[in-house]
């Protein structure tokens, strides 16, 4: 340990006078929303941020996905073969769709491929209704760059996992007991307003975000 640590902490410990404790107002109670309302709110907010939100269900999501892919010209779809979504994709994939490309090696061995593939598909940990965002907890099977490097990010969201707010998600899912390596909130395709505050979409992250909401999950 360097001296800096000791010096800084020593300075912070010599204080003689603490200001009075500030009164902390209670957090307002989260609005009670049923699933349909949460889905509607998330859809509306995310679409306002230029995400494409498709309401579907367990039976139809694969065909909804195929339709979305067919109307785009994509060189491949990065997927996680060892997840439930990955298994479902592999089972029904067919010619005429962008080829499925598994993310199975570590980034050092496939960086070029990751940076050149057009699309990636991931699951989600949940969603936030009040702000319109997805929660992602990348895993060894579904790594971090899948939702970042490809120009199109497709996310599958189970409607029952939509929380009213971030506070609610943190408390209900006991995040404080153990955070993953990386947790993310994503509210749309990447954007910037750094030139004259003109909002443009598709900067360093994905240019498109497609959310498949499974309404019966």
């Amino acid at each position: 340990m360097s001296d800096a640590r000791a010096h800084i902490l020593a300075r912070l410990r010599t204080v003689s006078l603490q200001p009075p404790v500030a009164v902390e107002p209670e957090a307002p109670p989260a609005p009670a929303l049923d699933q349909a309302k949460k889905v509607a709110q998330l859809k509306q907010r995310m679409e306002a941020m230029h995400a494409e939100v498709i309401l579907t269900d367990r039976r139809d999501w694969l065909s909804a996905l195929k339709t979305a892919l067919r109307c785009r010209s994509l060189n491949g779809l990065l997927y996680a073969p060892h997840t439930a979504i990955g298994a479902a994709l592999a089972e029904v994939w067919e010619d005429g769709l962008p080829p499925l490309v598994p993310y199975e090696q570590s980034v050092e061995d496939c960086k070029e491929q990751l940076f050149n593939i057009d699309a990636g598909i991931t699951s989600t940990q949940g969603g936030l209704a009040d702000v319109g965002a997805l929660i992602l907890w990348p895993t060894p099977d579904e790594p971090r760059l899948m939702s970042l490097a490809p120009a199109v990010h497709i996310a599958v969201l189970e409607a029952s996992k939509i929380h009213p707010s971030l506070t609610d998600a943190i408390l209900q899912e006991h995040w404080a007991e153990g955070m993953p390596t990386n947790a993310l909130l994503i509210s749309g395709p990447s954007k910037t307003a750094d030139i004259e505050l003109v909002l443009t979409f598709g900067v360093h992250g994905p240019k498109e975000l497609i959310v498949l909401v499974l309404d019966d999950c």
Partner: protein, 479 residues
């Protein structure tokens, strides 16, 4: 490294005379203010949220030493390497050491005000290490060899024509275009190669959560995620005041930050990093370093009034609402942090002699305080700094260079004024003399202090008779 000898009057004159700058700023500041008002249109709910934000930040600061130790412990448990730096030089040396240990020469950076504070780019550049800014605004000003003029929108002083010319001249084989989408695409293409090749990623930290050892980053572009995900090593730099106690403290602060900064409910990305790549994980940096920088903060913290400065969450909304900033822009202030927050923070870090003049760049209208999401009493602190500029008496919490403005002429003038007012016959004589000399004053050639004072003000014309005399003539009893 400290910037010294900032010529404020010259800077201010130059900025005020720059019509293009003023038009660029005006449009942007009005828009940002309007977006914020739209988001926080429920005034009552916003006030409640502000009170919570204020209280959360105060609670965190009350326990600062304990929270820093807990943060260090949690991060260490998670595999993040924690470093402490008292000065910018120490922080830079820590970064350099990490970079050199990895034999790296290509550093990619996410937007970080604290890295500007320590002048990391310049430091690395001098040692042959390329530190490339990847936030679009930061990238633009780095091409121009400028510093950010705003905490949130660093290139806001430039318009699209100026950026079009800059890209055309500085990026090889780039045609001139004023279409914002095309300019954006050019930057995307250039920087994508850099993300691919970057060996070290550097970022700031918006909130660090002591409870879980989590570093939170707020952004829209995805460059922050790139810098903290693609390279094998990530260095995060933060001021020691950025720590919060619990994960559940984050949501209200996040709402206040994005709403105040740009009027957004939430940014595109909220990136929470709690560890380096774990065994079995396929990407993410193998090493994550956290540099905790003091640079005068522990001294600010020790004073219960000045401590409020450290509640700041760097939303930049005080800049957008300041009648001085919106006319000058950030560069005229001469330091990294401009506007109201810069005017209270910088003199405390750099000392009053160097930066105390910043505290005078205020009209005391209080707009900054009215919009501050964590209720920093900015005008009280400005007044404190102005007072300290004349206060020679040393206390435990005196700001560096206190009393630097005190001079013999001014002391003598005030002493004379006090004496005159306490001595009735001298006061009467003075009033009479001023009645005669006063009306002549504006006709005399203005020199010295009168000239300086009168540059932006009309000199007062004195009445020939004092109130005292007038009252007496009207027969009002003089007691």
């Amino acid at each position: 490294m400290t910037e010294i000898a900032v010529d404020f009057p010259k800077n201010f004159k130059k900025a005020l005379g720059d019509g293009q700058l003023r038009r660029n700023l005006r449009a942007a500041m009005d828009t940002l203010g309007m977006r914020r008002r739209t988001l926080f249109s429920d005034v009552e709910a916003f006030e409640k949220l502000r009170e919570r934000g204020d209280a959360i930040r105060q609670r965190a600061l009350r326990q600062l030493p304990e929270l820093l130790e807990r943060l260090e412990q949690k991060c260490t448990e998670n595999g993040i390497q924690v470093h402490w730096a008292e000065t910018p030089a120490e922080a830079n040396a820590i970064c350099l050491d990490i970079i050199q240990r990895h034999h790296a020469t290509r550093v990619i950076k996410g937007k970080s005000m604290v890295s500007e504070e320590i002048h990391l780019n310049h430091f690395l550049d001098e040692r042959g290490i390329e530190a490339l800014e990847t936030d679009l605004g930061e990238y633009i000003i780095q091409l121009e060899h400028e510093t950010p003029s705003h905490i949130i929108v660093p290139a806001i002083h430039k318009n699209r024509d100026q950026i079009a010319t800059l890209f055309h001249e500085k990026i090889p084989n780039t045609p001139y275009t004023e279409v914002v989408e095309e300019l954006n695409a050019i930057a995307r293409q250039v920087l994508r190669e850099k993300f691919f090749a970057g060996e070290i990623g550097v970022s700031g930290v918006n909130f660090a959560v002591a409870e879980t050892g989590t570093l939170c980053l707020v952004e829209n572009e995805g460059n922050g995620r790139m810098c903290t995900t693609a390279p094998p090593v990530h260095i995060a730099i933060m001021g020691i005041e950025k720590v919060v106690e619990k994960l559940e403290d984050v949501p209200p602060l996040l709402r206040l930050l994005t709403g105040s900064a740009t009027g957004q409910l939430i940014t595109t990305y909220f990136n929470m990093i709690s560890s380096p790549r774990k065994p079995g994980e396929k990407d993410g940096p193998k090493e994550v370093h956290l540099v905790l920088l003091d640079n005068g903060r522990s001294k600010i913290w020790a004073d219960p009034d000045l401590r409020h400065t450290l509640k700041c969450i760097r939303c930049g909304t005080c800049l957008n609402h300041c009648p001085v900033y919106t006319r000058l822009g950030g560069h005229a202030y001469g330091y990294v942090y401009p506007g109201p927050i810069g005017s209270i923070l910088t003199p405390q870090i750099e000392g009053l002699k160097n930066a105390g003049a910043m505290a005078t760049a205020s009209t005391f209208c209080g707009a900054c305080e009215e919009v501050c999401p964590v209720k920093i009493p900015i005008t009280d602190i400005l007044r404190r700094l102005r007072n300290e500029s004349y206060d020679k008496d040393e206390t435990a919490h005196s700001v560096k260079d206190h009393g630097y403005k005190l001079n013999a002429t001014e002391s003598l003038t005030w002493k004379g004024w006090a004496f005159s007012n306490a001595t009735p016959w001298i006061n009467a004589l003075n009033a009479k003399l001023l009645g005669v000399i006063g009306p002549q004053l504006p006709k005399l050639p203005a020199v010295g202090i009168i000239k300086q004072w009168g540059q932006s003000r009309a000199l007062p014309s004195f009445a020939t008779k004092s109130l005292h005399v007038l009252a007496k003539e009207k027969g009002i009893r003089d007691e």
